[in-house]
C-alpha cells in the first residue's frame, strides 16, 4: 500500500462549529447532535438510530442538555456520519466558545403549566444564533415555560422563564375562592368582601389563578419571559439574576444578541471568561443600562450581580 492511500481525507468544514468530542479510545469521538428544545421528530430519531447502529457500538448517550450523542464513532467516518444524518435533516451540534443549542421544556402546546411557546423560542434561537462564536467562552440559553422552571433557566448564560401578570376583571368574579386556594405564593387572599385581593409583590407570575378561574375573571395583563443573566454550573456555579420581566416572545433573539454584544466587547482581553464572572467583575449596571436602551419596557430598574453558590469544595477564583 502506498503512503498516499493510508491518508484519511476529512471535510474540515464539518468541524467548524464543533460537536465532535474526543473520547478516551484511540480514533474514537462522540458526535453531539443538534436537538433544539429536546423535541425530536420520530423520523429523525429513526435516522439517528440507523446511523448509530451502522457507525457506533450499540448505544447512544442522552446529554444533560437534551442532545442525542452518538458515541464511539471513528473519526474516519465523520463525513459519512454527517452525510447520512443529513439525509434525515439531522445536524451536528456545537462545543467550545460558541452559542450552544438552546434547551427548552415542552412549552405550552401540551403541557398544562406552560405559559409561553418555549419550543418556538428554542427553534428560533437555534436557527438564528446557533454556533455564533463568542471569542471568550461557551454561551448557553434555556427556556422554561413557567416558574416551575424544570429546565433550570437561571443556570444558563441567558435564561428565560415564562410568566403572566394576572389582572382581575371583578365583574366576572363569583367569589368562589379557587384562585386563592390555588395560589402557591400567598399573592391572593380572599377578603371579607368575598373577593380575591392581589399582592403583586408576592406573585411569581405562574398563572395558576387564570387556569383555575371558572369564569375567566382573571386575565393576562402581560405575558412574556422573566429573564435572568449570568448563570452557569461547573466547578464554580452561579445563579443568574433578574434583568428583564415580561419580555415579549418576539424580542428574544434581539435580547440575546444585545447581551452577546456586551459580552464580546467587555470580555475582550480578559481570557476565557464566562458571562456571569464578567458581570461580577464589571458590575451589572453597564449591561443593564445597555439593555435598557433597547428594551425599555422590559428591563428592570435595578439588579444584583450573579449569585455565587458555595459548593464547599475548593477555593473559588476571585474574578479580576
Amino acid at each position: 500500500m502506498s503512503e498516499q492511500n493510508k491518508k484519511t481525507a476529512i471535510d474540515l468544514n464539518n468541524l467548524k462549529a464543533g460537536g465532535f468530542i474526543k473520547e478516551r479510545g484511540k480514533d474514537l469521538f462522540t458526535v453531539r447532535l443538534r436537538v433544539p428544545g429536546g423535541r425530536l421528530p420520530v423520523e429523525r430519531l429513526k435516522k439517528i438510530a440507523e446511523v448509530a447502529e451502522k457507525y457506533g457500538q450499540g448505544a447512544v448517550h442522552l446529554s444533560v442538555r437534551q442532545s442525542v450523542e452518538l458515541i464511539n464513532i471513528n473519526f474516519k467516518d465523520f463525513d459519512a456520519v454527517v452525510a447520512e444524518l443529513g439525509e434525515g435533516d439531522q445536524r451536528v451540534a456545537s462545543c467550545g466558545a460558541r452559542i450552544r443549542v438552546p434547551t427548552a421544556c415542552g412549552g405550552c402546546e401540551y403541557n398544562p403549566n406552560g405559559l409561553v411557546d418555549t419550543q418556538a423560542s428554542a427553534l428560533e434561537v437555534d436557527r438564528t444564533l446557533f454556533g455564533t462564536p463568542t471569542g471568550h467562552h461557551k454561551f448557553k440559553v434555556g427556556f422554561a415555560g413557567c416558574p416551575f422552571d424544570c429546565p433550570k433557566s437561571a443556570i444558563n448564560d441567558v435564561g428565560f422563564q415564562g410568566a403572566v401578570l394576572p389582572e382581575l376583571h371583578a365583574g366576572d368574579c363569583i367569589g368562589c375562592g379557587l384562585c386563592a386556594k390555588t395560589c402557591s405564593d400567598g399573592a391572593l387572599v380572599m377578603g371579607d368582601d368575598q373577593m380575591p385581593h392581589f399582592n403583586p409583590e408576592k406573585c411569581t407570575w405562574c398563572g395558576d389563578c387564570l387556569k383555575v378561574c371558572p369564569t375567566e375573571a382573571w386575565q393576562a395583563a402581560k405575558r412574556g419571559y422573566t429573564v435572568r443573566i449570568g448563570g452557569k454550573w461547573g466547578r464554580y456555579p452561579l445563579v443568574g439574576t433578574l434583568f428583564a420581566t415580561f419580555l415579549p416572545e418576539n424580542q428574544v433573539e434581539a435580547f440575546i444578541s444585545e447581551v452577546l454584544a456586551w459580552y464580546v466587547e467587555k470580555g475582550t482581553g480578559r481570557g476565557r471568561v464566562r458571562l456571569g464572572d464578567l458581570i461580577i467583575q464589571e458590575g451589572p449596571e453597564s449591561l443593564l443600562a445597555r439593555l435598557r436602551t433597547k428594551f425599555p419596557e422590559s428591563v428592570v430598574d435595578a439588579t444584583i450581580a450573579p449569585q455565587i453558590i458555595n459548593t464547599q469544595v475548593g477555593t473559588r477564583r476571585i474574578p479580576q
Binding site: P112, C176, G177, K181, T182, K211
Partner: protein, 74 residues
C-alpha cells in the same frame, strides 16, 4: 346531587377517578367532589376545568374541600 369522595386519594389517581365518575353523569348535571387540602385541591379543579367542565364553587368543610361542578359536553 352526586357526591364523589376523593379524600385520601392522591394525584393523579384522584383526577382519573373523577373522570371515571363523570362518565356516569349526564351533561349539565351537577356533581360534588370531596377533596383533601394541599395538592388535590390545588390541581384537581384546574384539570377538570381543562377537560371542559364548568366549575361552580369551592367551600371548606371540616378540614376538606367540596368542589361543585357542572358536567360539560362529552
Amino acid at each position: 346531587m352526586n357526591v364523589i369522595d376523593l379524600r385520601g386519594v392522591t394525584c393523579p389517581t384522584n383526577f382519573v377517578k373523577a373522570k371515571l365518575a363523570l362518565e356516569l353523569v349526564e351533561t349539565g348535571e351537577q356533581v360534588e367532589f370531596l377533596l383533601d387540602d394541599g395538592e388535590p385541591v390545588k390541581n384537581v379543579p384546574r384539570s377538570l376545568k381543562a377537560e371542559g367542565h364548568k366549575l361552580l364553587g369551592l367551600k371548606e368543610v371540616e378540614g376538606h374541600y367540596v368542589l361543585t361542578l357542572e358536567k360539560g359536553a362529552e
